[in-house]
C-alpha cells in the first residue's frame, strides 16, 4: 500500500485514540472533583491534566502564568484550536487522515468518524458549559469506542489493519505511561493518606482514567497498594491498557504492517520490549518509577519516529 495512506491510517487511529483518552481523563477528573471534601485549589486539581498531555507550556503561553481555572482548562483541552492535543483538534486531524485513506477504510468507519467530527465541531461552536462537560466527554469516549468496534468488524485484515492497530496501541501505551507518571507522582508522597477515603478516590481515579478500576479490584483485594498498581498497569498481560499488553500488540501489529528486519522500527520495538522483559515492579521501584517511565516514553517516541521513517520517508524519497 502507499506510504502516505499507511501514514494516514496510523495517525487517524492515534488522533482518534488520543481524543478518546483525553475525554476519559477529563471526565474522571471532573466527576471526582464535584464532591471533593479535601481542600485543593482549582489549579492543583487541574494542573496534572495539563502535565499528562504535556500542555503546560502551551497553556501558560496562551493564558499567562497563574491563570489556571477549571473553565480555562476545559476550554483549552476541548475546543482550543491552537492546542494540538485538544479534543477538537484531535478529531479534526483524525477525520482529515480518514478522508485521505478513505478508499482503504470501510464505509462504516468513514461515516462514524465523519459524523463524530461534525457533531463535535457543532457542539464546540459555543463554549462547553462546565456542568454539561461530563456528558460531552462521555459522548466522545463512546463514539471512539464505537469506531473501534466498527473497525474490528468491518475492516479487512492486512497491512492497513496493522497500521491502524500500531497507532492505537502506541497511543495507548503512551497515555498509560503518562497518566501513571503524573498521577503516581502526585499520589505517592502523602503516606499519611494511605487507606483513607481520599486515598481511595485518588487511586480509583487513576485506574478509572485507564478503564482499569474494575479489573484491578477483581485481581487485587488488598486495597490500593502502590506495588500492585504498578504491577497491574505495567506488567499485567491481561489488562488491555497495561504497558506489557500494548507493547505485545504493537509487536504483532508491526508484523502485520509488513515492515521487515531491514528497517529501523524492529530495533526500536526490541528496545521497548527489552524494558519490560525480565523486569519487575520491585526492580522498577528500586531504580525509580519516574525514571523508568521517562525512558519508556522516550522509547515510544523513538519507535514512532522509526516506524514513520520506515513507511513514510521511503515514500518521500520516491520520485
Amino acid at each position: 500500500m502507499l506510504s502516505r495512506i499507511a501514514d494516514s491510517i496510523y495517525w487517524m487511529s492515534r488522533y482518534l485514540e488520543r481524543a478518546g483518552d483525553t475525554a476519559r481523563l477529563m471526565e474522571i477528573n471532573l466527576l471526582y472533583l464535584l464532591e471533593a471534601e479535601e481542600d485543593m485549589s482549582e489549579g492543583d486539581k487541574w494542573r496534572p491534566l495539563l502535565s499528562i498531555t504535556s500542555a503546560e507550556a502551551a497553556f501558560s503561553g496562551l493564558y499567562g502564568e497563574g491563570q489556571l481555572t477549571q473553565g480555562r482548562v476545559l476550554q483549552f483541552m476541548t475546543a482550543e484550536k491552537s492546542n494540538g492535543n485538544s479534543i477538537r483538534t484531535c478529531l479534526r486531524l483524525a477525520r482529515e487522515n480518514a478522508r485521505i485513506a478513505r478508499d482503504r477504510i470501510s464505509r462504516e468507519m468513514w461515516e462514524a468518524i465523519n459524523e463524530l467530527w461534525l457533531n463535535v465541531d457543532q457542539q464546540l461552536k459555543t463554549p462547553l458549559h462546565p456542568l454539561r462537560a461530563s456528558q460531552f466527554f462521555s459522548f466522545v469516549r463512546g463514539e471512539v469506542a464505537r469506531f473501534h468496534g466498527l473497525t474490528t468488524t468491518t475492516m479487512m485484515r492486512g497491512e492497513a489493519f496493522g497500521f491502524y492497530r500500531l497507532g492505537t496501541f502506541l497511543e495507548q501505551a503512551d497515555m498509560t505511561a503518562r497518566i501513571l507518571d503524573v498521577k503516581y507522582h502526585l499520589l505517592l508522597p502523602d503516606l499519611s493518606l494511605v487507606g483513607s477515603a481520599l486515598d481511595y478516590y485518588q487511586w480509583a481515579a487513576l485506574l478509572k482514567s485507564l478503564s482499569g478500576y474494575e479489573a484491578f479490584r477483581r485481581k487485587y483485594h488488598a486495597g490500593f497498594r502502590p506495588m500492585d498498581v504498578v504491577e497491574f498497569t505495567i506488567f499485567e498481560q491481561e489488562f488491555p491498557r497495561s504497558l506489557a499488553y500494548t507493547v505485545k500488540r504493537m509487536r504483532r501489529a508491526l508484523a502485520d504492517t509488513g515492515i521487515t528486519g531491514q528497517q529501523r522500527s524492529p530495533a526500536a520495538m526490541e528496545r521497548l520490549e527489552g524494558m519490560l522483559a525480565g523486569n519487575s515492579a520491585e526492580r522498577i521501584f528500586s531504580t525509580g518509577l519516574h525514571e523508568f517511565l521517562e525512558e519508556f516514553l522516550a522509547a515510544i517516541a523513538a519507535l514512532n519516529q522509526a516506524a514513520q521513517a520506515d513507511f513514510l520517508d521511503t515514500h518521500r524519497e520516491e520520485p
Binding site: L34, E35, E37, R217
Partner: protein, 482 residues
C-alpha cells in the same frame, strides 16, 4: 413499650416538613438548593427528569416486583431529582446511635446463641425468643469468625412530628438498597452537577470498598487468603441488580448455590480449572434457603453442607445465619433495654412507641383504636403483612383484629407516626411526600457508617408506605461535611 394515652380523642398531628419551616420558607440548609431550583425553570427541569430516566434505562438500574407470574416484573428504579439534605450535626447523632445499636444487637445475637444471659436475667422474656420463627436452634454454640453476626445492617429511621429521628426497624438479615444509594448519587451528579456546586456533600461510593474490607477481615484463613463470593438466589430476585452491582464493584464472583459445593466441611467454587476454595460468602439468600441439610430441605438456592463448614470454622457467612431473631419485630421493643444491658449506655436513638399484643391491656387498647394504628406481622418485611389503620377498611380491620387475637406473638402495633415530608418533583409540581431513611452499617474490624443512606419516598400523595415493592420511590441523600 408504649404508654397508653389517657386522652384517646387527640387529633392526629401534622408531620414534620424536612424542607420548609412554615410552608414557604426553606430551612437554612436547603436555601441554596431552593434558590437554584427556582432559577432552573420548569422546562429545563422537565428535561432533566427525562434525562435521568434515560440514564437509568441505559444503565439498567432496576428492581423486581414479585407478581402473579413466576418471573416478577422488572421496573426501572424510581428516582426523584430533588436531594434530601442532612446537616453534619444531625448526622453525627444518627451515626453514633446506629453504631451503638449495631454493637448491642451483635452482642445480643452472640449471647442468644451461646449463654443466653439476657434471658436468664429476665431482661428479654425467654419465650419471646424461643417462639420466634427466626430463632435457629441449629446454630446454638457456633462461633462465627471474630464473633461478628451483623456484618451489614440497614436500619430504618424516620422523623416524628417534632422532627426527632426514631428507629422504625432493624434489618440484620440481607438488607438491600445500598446499590440504589450509590446509583442515586451517580445519576444526581450526572444530571444535576450544579446542585453539588452549592454544597460540600460527603461521598458514599466507597461503600463497596468498605464492604470488601469487612469481608476480608472475617476470612477464616486471614485476609491474605480471602476468596470471597456474593451468593445470589438468581436473576428473579428483587435485588438481583444489587447483587451484580456489589460483586462487580468488589471484583468478586457472583455465584448461585449451584456454583458452590461443600466437601469435608470446606466450600468450593466450581471453576473451569477445577474446584477453588471459598473463604467468605456474602450471602443474599435467606436462612431458610441457605442449606437444605439444615433448614428447608426443598431449597435449590443454597449449598448443602455450608452450615457444617461454618460450624467447623472453615468459612465466614455474612450476615450470620440466625440473625433474624434480633430484627424480629417482637424483639424490637426491647432493643433500648438490650443496649442498656450490654453496653451500660443510654440509647442515643429512640424507638417508635410500640404496643405488644401479648400484653392483654395493650392489646385491648390497640384493638379499640385500630384505625389509628399500624399493625405489623413480626417476621414479615417489605411492607407485606401490614395494616395501615387510617387507610384501612372496616373489613380489613376486622380481619386483622381476628389475626391478632389468634396469634398475639406474631403482631405488634404502633401509633401512626406521620413520617416527615419532603418536596418531590411530581408531574411539573413540587409536592410534599412522606419519606424515611435507611443508612447502612458495616461491621468488620471496625463499625463504619457511610454518610448517607437510601431515602425512600412514598410516591402516592398522603401515603406512609415507602417500600419500593409497594410503589415507593427514592432520593439522593446528602450528608453535609462540617
Amino acid at each position: 413499650m408504649a404508654a397508653i394515652p389517657s386522652d384517646t380523642s387527640q387529633k392526629p398531628r401534622i408531620s414534620y416538613h424536612e424542607f420548609y419551616t412554615d410552608g414557604f420558607t426553606p430551612r437554612e440548609h436547603y436555601r441554596p438548593l431552593w434558590e437554584h431550583i427556582q432559577s432552573v425553570g420548569q422546562n429545563a427541569f422537565e428535561a432533566k427528569v427525562h434525562e435521568s430516566q434515560l440514564a437509568l434505562h441505559a444503565e439498567g438500574v432496576t428492581f423486581t416486583v414479585y407478581g402473579d407470574s413466576d418471573e416478577g416484573i422488572e421496573r426501572i428504579w424510581p428516582f426523584d431529582l430533588i436531594p434530601r439534605i442532612i446537616p453534619a450535626g444531625e448526622w453525627s447523632v444518627i451515626e453514633s446511635g446506629l453504631k451503638q445499636r449495631v454493637r448491642a444487637l451483635n452482642l445480643f445475637l452472640k449471647d442468644i446463641y451461646h449463654d443466653q444471659r439476657i434471658l436468664k436475667d429476665g431482661v428479654v422474656p425467654a419465650e419471646l425468643i424461643y417462639q420466634g420463627k427466626d430463632f435457629r436452634r441449629e446454630i446454638m454454640g457456633i462461633d462465627p469468625p471474630h464473633d461478628i453476626y451483623t456484618h451489614i445492617s440497614g436500619i430504618d429511621i424516620i422523623r416524628d412530628e417534632d422532627g426527632k429521628y426514631l428507629v422504625l426497624e432493624d434489618n440484620l438479615r440481607t438488607p438491600s438498597g445500598v446499590s440504589y444509594m450509590i446509583e442515586n448519587r451517580v445519576i444526581e451528579r450526572r444530571i444535576l452537577p450544579e446542585f453539588f456546586a452549592k454544597y460540600r456533600v460527603r461521598r458514599v461510593e466507597h461503600y463497596p470498598a468498605l464492604l470488601l474490607e469487612a469481608l476480608r477481615a472475617v476470612s477464616p484463613r486471614g485476609t491474605g487468603q480471602a476468596e470471597i463470593v456474593v451468593l445470589t438466589p438468581g436473576i428473579y430476585n428483587s435485588a438481583y441488580f444489587e447483587h451484580t452491582f456489589l460483586a462487580k464493584e468488589m471484583g468478586v464472583e457472583l455465584a448461585e448455590g449451584r456454583d458452590l459445593v461443600a466437601k469435608d466441611d470446606v466450600v468450593y467454587l466450581k471453576t473451569t480449572t477445577g474446584l477453588q476454595r471459598v473463604d467468605v460468602i456474602y450471602r443474599r439468600v435467606d436462612d431458610d434457603f441457605l442449606d437444605p441439610l439444615v433448614f428447608r430441605s426443598d431449597s435449590a438456592l443454597g449449598v448443602a453442607g455450608i452450615i457444617n463448614a461454618w460450624r467447623a470454622g472453615n468459612i465466614a457467612i455474612v450476615n450470620a445465619p440466625g440473625n433474624g431473631i434480633a430484627d424480629d419485630k417482637a424483639v424490637y421493643p426491647y432493643v433500648p433495654d438490650i443496649i442498656r444491658y450490654y453496653l451500660a449506655e443510654a440509647p442515643i436513638l429512640h424507638n417508635v412507641p410500640t404496643y405488644q399484643m401479648t400484653n392483654p391491656e395493650e392489646r385491648a387498647y390497640v384493638l379499640d383504636n385500630l384505625e389509628r394504628m399500624v399493625v405489623k406481622a413480626v417476621s414479615e418485611s417489605g411492607g407485606y403483612g401490614m395494616l395501615m389503620g387510617p387507610a384501612s377498611t372496616p373489613a380489613l380491620r376486622k380481619e386483622f383484629a381476628a389475626k391478632v387475637q389468634e396469634d398475639p406473638r406474631n403482631y405488634i402495633a404502633q401509633p401512626v407516626v406521620q413520617l416527615s415530608r419532603h418536596i418531590c418533583y411530581m408531574d411539573g409540581e413540587l409536592e410534599a411526600r412522606h419519606l424515611d431513611l435507611r443508612p447502612f452499617i458495616i461491621y468488620g474490624d471496625d463499625i463504619n457508617v457511610v454518610p448517607g443512606g437510601l431515602t425512600r419516598v412514598a410516591l402516592t400523595k398522603g401515603s406512609l408506605v415507602v417500600n419500593s415493592s409497594q410503589g415507593g420511590g427514592s432520593k439522593d441523600t446528602w450528608v453535609l461535611a462540617e
